[in-house]
Amino acid sequence: MQLIDCPWCGCREEIEFSYGGQAHIPYPDNPAELNDTQWAHYVFFRSNPKGVCAERWVHSAGCRRWFNALRDTCTYHFIETYRIGESPSFTSASLFPVTESQVSVPTEAGDRKTQ
């Protein structure tokens, strides 16, 4: 039972949280302009890196806030959590996988504009 550092409530047991999938996959500005392949990448394609990946979590049993986390898929270890719209302090680009679905290192601009 890991402790997860809720950006609002502090460290709590992971059972209080729910997983929300890969983070920083913004909803496309104009879905109608995407072709089926591009849309399918948004809906279905997620990276599966060995190492650091960005994830979305929600503190379901606590403050109900969604936030982002960097986690190491080899150890499950949470490297860092950060609020929506914030960037992680850990930004080693080499450890971020960039896939077809265009996961990218979040920037100051927040979730929507990170593509």
Partner: protein
Amino acid sequence: MTVDVSTKELLVARDGLDVHKEKFAALNAQVGVEVLPLAHQYNLRVSPNSDSAVAVEALLGSALPTSPSWVSSPAGQTIIWLGPDEWLIIDTPHHTDFEASLRDATKGHGAVVDQSGQRISLLITGDAPGLLAKGTALNLHSTAFPRGAALQGFLARAVVIYLSRSENSSRIELVVRTSFARYVADWLLDAALDPLAYPTPYGERTCH
């Protein structure tokens, strides 16, 4: 029971915990459990530091807490931090038109929702941390959970709000969703059968 529908007598408010109240009264060990009276309560959503928040604070006569904690307003209301822009206000004693005043104060830039029927409070006294340590990984010892702290989390498998009502953790209020209230009450009765023979020291392990 039957009700004469021809009369316009007041409806009786019920919490559905009468049987549990009797059992709680029969507890004579190190802990006491009391079902607090049904209370009007409101969910407040407003951006912190906004004009609306300032107006709400003026109405309450108290600042809105900004961390997992509760404060008491001069009028005796309990204002509980639930999230960065969310509070629960337990309006005890009940103030007529409080909801409307609160809504006016938010000036349309927030939300006020009557949740009076949503939750009910149980007050645990005595070795409250020892009893609750059987059902929560939260550290409720007084040093980690001083008076004024308010934590949301699990008690067994129900989500509750823990309010520290005293300096020494001997009064902890559980604010419980009403549909879970009987489960929580049953759990408390069962857990109280096996008091912990050990003090529950504090010390807080955090992530990593």
